[in-house]
Symmetry: C2
Subunit: 217 residues, 2 copies
Amino acid sequence: MTRTTPPVPSRSDAVRNRRLLLDAASRAFAEHGVEVSIGEIAQWAGVGKGTVFRHFSSKADLLAAIMLGMLDELEGTATALLEADDPGGALRDFMAAGVEIFVRDRAFCEVVGRPSLQSEQVREAIHRLGDVAERLTSRARDQGAVRPDVTGTDVVLLLSGIQHTAAPLLVTEPLAWRRYLELALDGITAGDRRPLPYPPPRRLPLTSPDPDPDRDR
Amino acid sequence: MTRTTPPVPSRSDAVRNRRLLLDAASRAFAEHGVEVSIGEIAQWAGVGKGTVFRHFSSKADLLAAIMLGMLDELEGTATALLEADDPGGALRDFMAAGVEIFVRDRAFCEVVGRPSLQSEQVREAIHRLGDVAERLTSRARDQGAVRPDVTGTDVVLLLSGIQHTAAPLLVTEPLAWRRYLELALDGITAGDRRPLPYPPPRRLPLTSPDPDPDRDR
DNA sequence: CGTTAATCGGACCATGTGGTCACCTTAGGT
DNA sequence: ACCTAAGGTGACCACATGGTCCGATTAACG
């Protein structure tokens, strides 16, 4: 049974350290992925290792806090775009925002791509994001900007796919993802094409998705 | 200085164990990714841990041996497809074969996606694969099956992207990748579209590509 | 057979990790 | 100024992993 994470503290030094920790961890996870050690994060933040565990009950907990923040932010962007005049453009903007987060944050890619790293809350956040994406997509579909057999689930899945397509070029061409975003957009644009095979599930299989391939280790 | 890997042995038991080891490692890497421990692989193969290091000087070496095998096989398929009558179909077949390998093998995805895991030989093999893909693509382009601004590099990169798009569905819909392969194909098919932004490098940046984000740990 | 060199295997080592804890420091109310 | 509880910390623990090594085993040849 994992101890639960303490609430946001009140003492000034604690508040400050929590902030430092969150910032350091964000950068560390973004740059090096989920594998960075707690020790390094503590060092980056300029605090002792023990302090990390005073603020977050486990490494997974710290990671979840940060991932939740990013997911919520993206959901906010998506929700705002629901009000846009041009549904096609809104969908494109959402996808651009999404891919950009993936590109910027290595841990984000890893967490989204491996359910065993997702806390319940993270799963719920991804699910909510999927719902908004669905509405965004359906608007674009109704307007005729997107082919009829493409769903919001497709769109969300494509985010990760696009980033991984461009990943090997990250160092030499940090903006190459735009090229592949365009390619994907050309793929989902309406036109006379054979319908896609293998219809995707209505929603991401996120609630209890995986006989995780790591469990038996 | 790493000790170099011994040549294929001659004694019957050694040959057998080497085979057993290669098989076990293939399956282990495919299913669990590069993180499986040598100990587990040895157990799966039914040999002692020491035996692993007698046959392969390091874990990286064992991994490289297996990855090389897969890359060579894919290159063979691609080369054979160069002779096909229908260039467009050949390209599609190549992509299908490629994505299928990615889908089947977790370690393959990881190695291709993280240059720090690639040995010199693996990098060369990937490079050779890129060359064949380039020729495959250029044939399809000349025939008008593929838009003029798509290169072989794009095609290779898309392989990984497609697999990652479908990854979250692997358990529920193991064949979902076909849907996203089709989507990608629709994206690279000729048609009147604005040219893609951010032209890709002529070749994959594989020779010495990355200030690897793990090196400073 | 008997010899011998190749092979096997598991105890062993160095290293790195997440997480704990008992002790010291300090913020902040009085 | 003082008291106290919240907060900070780094030595410490348990555990896992890649890799080494040397005594025991065995294939293969004469």
